[in-house]
């Protein structure tokens, strides 16, 4: 009987969890959030930002707000400052170095000592008691909380509304390694890591000028994310810097933990195929661009720097270009641009000729293409799209599968799968060669986002060529170039300095002599140019 009941009953087991949809209200018809979801986190309350002069009250408040009873890593240490005054040290275990707290705060603060009557207590303690390199006096409760969450240690003193924060950060992070996506032959092998401080240091080691400014900003709904804006004061255009700061301040997401998300939140044209800033893992490249007058934004937790503004020529350059000789660098650059053009135009061009303009093909090519398609069942346009999709599948699989297996997938996909597809009459060999060349050309593009952009454009042009031959290809290319011509990256036209023409004598595609690089980029309208 029990078995029958269990089979036919609709009940569920007691401990089975179910996320109820109605908690936040019904979702809208097109998926927009219902009213109940709006500002679920709520606006930051205009709470009391001052520090209580009673240490116990501060302790209670911290326990409540930071859930100290639930968070086992929150440490609150009461002690007698200089053997006389009640004090409270607060830090997060794991974010702060306990030995620093013990040796340089508690060991210095606990022993009895005479306190002066004429000097302000907090200032005296900050200057004479704690043996830390950086001691700040804070009166804002929220600032202190942020500092604690950041890994600093806060010390509250009985009877004072000013607390002290000291930098005791010491958490585990990845060591500096070679950048995984921007490999070079000549040039630095260092890449950014997830730690903001380390990244800033990597740049400071290269840009040893007194005008390099690093502004730390928090953004996001509860100030949960931190980023550093780096630029050269007096060189970078002030309007550019202000605009970047304004956009960062307008970021309203709950959290942003990587540079890519921040990129999308700060760029103007969300639906643009092209990226509007350069995301780089290389500190040397970032440093070089800072020297020219760009602005860099580094996000805590992301091993990528967002450098803006970025033009097409910036996206097509690599950090290695300036390390090569003029002729070699120029040839490599030309190959890169030719590869990019092949990657975007070749599939559409071939499709246009095969479907609509056969008279443009030589008779030998005609024969080869016709013979290779003898038993292929799919229309030629479908075949092209199918092979482009297979190429993307192989690429994605190779990236997601770890280690040597990922490399093997590229070989398997490229050689064996391709050959098998031809043998099985799923594709023709000529088409396979076209797609292979397209793929090689795609990988010539140094920037990953731009590679993906090229993939999208390629598909658009393939479809346009399928529909209307060379007319579709040319009209599609016209629209794409028009789009690029009208795109701006933080006020700088995307095709600058070619269109519009800038004052710079530096060649765009070819590599100019290295002594041409003594000036800042004209398109950035640096402060030095304006003087």
């Amino acid at each position: 009987m029990n078995i029958i009941k269990r089979i036919f009953s609709f009940g569920r087991s007691y401990d089975e969890f179910e996320l109820l949809e109605t908690e936040g209200g019904q979702p809208g018809f097109f998926g927009s959030t219902g009213r109940a979801h709006k500002d679920a986190a709520g606006a930051i309350e205009n709470a009391n930002d001052t520090i209580n002069c009673d240490v116990s009250a501060n302790e209670e408040r911290l326990k409540t707000e930071m859930h100290a009873e639930i968070n086992p890593d929150m440490v609150m240490r009461r002690f007698l400052l200089c053997g006389q005054i009640e004090a409270l040290a607060v830090f997060i275990n794991g974010m702060s170095d306990q030995s620093l707290v013990s040796d340089f705060i508690l060991r210095q603060g606990i022993p009895e000592r005479e306190l002066p009557n004429d000097a302000p207590l907090v200032e005296y303690v900050a200057n004479n008691v704690f043996a830390m390199a950086e001691v700040k006096q804070e009166t804002s409760w929220n600032t202190i909380k942020t500092a604690i969450m950041d890994g600093c240690t806060a010390v509250f003193i009985q009877g004072k509304t000013t607390a002290l924060t000291m930098d005791t950060r010491s958490y585990e992070h990845r060591s500096i390694q070679e950048p995984s996506n921007e490999k070079v032959v000549k040039g630095s092998q260092e890449g950014f890591v997830e730690n903001l401080r380390t990244n800033i240091t990597l740049i400071r080691r290269r840009v040893r000028t007194d005008d390099l400014v690093v502004e730390l900003r928090t953004y996001g709904k509860e100030g949960s994310s931190r980023a550093a804006i780096m630029y050269r004061e007096g060189i970078a255009n002030e309007s550019l810097v202000n605009e970047i700061k304004r956009r960062l301040a307008n970021v309203n997401a709950m959290y942003v933990f990587n540079a890519g998300t921040l990129e999308q939140l700060t760029e103007r044209n969300t639906y643009s195929v092209f990226p509007q800033l350069l995301a780089t893992e290389r500190p040397d490249r970032t440093a070089a661009m800072l020297m020219e007058g760009h602005v860099a934004v580094i996000v805590e937790g992301s091993p990528t720097a967002n450098v803006m503004p970025a033009t097409l020529f910036t996206l097509m350059a690599t950090g290695e270009d300036s390390t090569m000789r003029v002729v070699q660098g120029s040839v490599i650059r030309m190959v890169r641009y030719i590869g990019a053009a092949i990657s975007i135009l070749l599939p559409g061009y071939f499709l246009a000729l095969a479907l609509h303009h056969q008279s443009l093909l030589s008779s030998e090519v005609l024969t080869t293409v016709v013979a290779s398609r003898k038993m292929v069942f799919a229309p030629i346009g479908m075949e092209m799209l199918f092979l482009l999709l297979v190429f993307q599948l192989v690429r994605e699989a190779g990236m997601r599968v770890p280690g040597s297996i990922g490399q093997a997938i590229g070989i398997i996909g490229g050689l064996i799968l391709g050959q098998a597809a031809v043998t099985a009459n799923l594709a023709s060999s000529v088409m396979l060669i076209i797609v292979a060349l397209t793929g090689l050309g795609n990988f010539c593009i140094p920037d990953y986002s731009t590679q993906l952009s090229a993939s999208v454009l390629r598909v658009i042009l393939v479809i346009a060529s399928w529909l209307a031959g060379l007319m579709g290809l040319f009209c599609g290319a016209f629209v794409i170039v028009a789009w690029m011509a009208s795109l701006k990256s933080f006020g700088v036209p995307f095709l600058a300095p070619h269109s519009p023409k800038a004052n710079s004598k530096r060649p765009m595609i070819l590599r100019g002599p290295i002594d041409n690089m003594s000036r800042h980029k004209d398109i950035l309208n640096t402060e030095e140019d304006g003087r």
């Binding site: 056969q358 008779s363 293409v369 016709v370 398609r373």
Partner: protein, 405 residues
Amino acid sequence: MKRISKTICLMLAAAFVAFNMAGCISYVAIDEYGYVMTVGVDKGETYDYRFCFIVQVEGASQGESDAENVVLSAEGNNIYDAVAVVEVGVPYQLNFGRANYMLFSKEVAETGYIARFIDESFKNLGVRRSTKLMVVLGDSLDYCTGVVSKDNPNTSKRQYSILRDYVSEGLTPITNIAMFTQNVNAKRGDNIVTLGATDDSIPNEEITGSSQDSELNPNSTTAGVERTGGLRAYYMGCAVFDGGTMKGVLSGRDTEIILMAKGMFRAGRLTLHHEDGEGHMVLLLKGGGKPKVELSIGGDAPYAKMSVRLQCHIECGEEDMDYNKWNREVKPMLEDYMERELERVFTLCRGMNSDAYEIGKYAAMKFHSAEEWEQYDWKSRYPELNMEFDVSLYVENEEINSLGG
């Protein structure tokens, strides 16, 4: 909601545009065509004309780059009728975009049909104006079957290679639709068109659609010379036109002379036998650029003097030649000979009312308006034209030329 309706409107507009732009540019895929390499036109038996086509299609074998040639033909009053009949029996559409040659039998060319055919066919069939023209002695169909080869399906390239070699020898001209129609419309000169023929003593290869003669004519030769091997079809000389109508044929030798007069002569060999019958001299002649023509149209009849400059290289025959001998004896003799040849061929062409030397274009330069030129009516004055020729020969042999001969 505003943003959503704006998005929906944009998507609807994009769908409308895409729907209109898509699918209406109809296409036929590359492997659904049979590519016509050569078109031939003969007089028909049942209908006005018989049209034949050398079509390149995919081969029967599984080879990657395999192709084969098929010769198809059908009769009709115009090419469209013939194409319709042909397409009924083959699993592909005919594509004329790669057609490189148009052949006309002598009978058809003599009726003046070429210009009409070009007018009515080439725009709508997609034939290019660079398609070369040829007149064939005999049947175009026979010629087509004689030019294809099983071993090399690339008929177009092969034809051009042979033609190019002939042209480089100066034995035949190349004319395409653009040049043909220009001369017919402008009336400043007349066309000479590549002439082809078939040597019946050479058997056809087994080609799909070809007509294999069961009995070969053993007395057939290639322009009077017996040969074995090679293709059955060959080139020889040129067909001479008066406007759009063929008037006669000239040998390869005579074609060389015309090309010299037109300034299109590149190189060719000349064999001269000594008058006493002992020995001969072989010269390699090279064109020296466009001839200089002084024309006067005043008076009763137009008069022109043509100065032709040629370079030559004595290849064999005169081992003891030196500069003095060359300058005193050989050069004047050769120049005189060439002038007589030019005169002879000019007379031949004038007899056919063909301004093959294109003196008309020099006549046009004498006028300042189209009305005056058209009123003058050069073709009616052409039969009265008197010409004088002056040939300058320059020898390239080092041993003779060391003193600047």
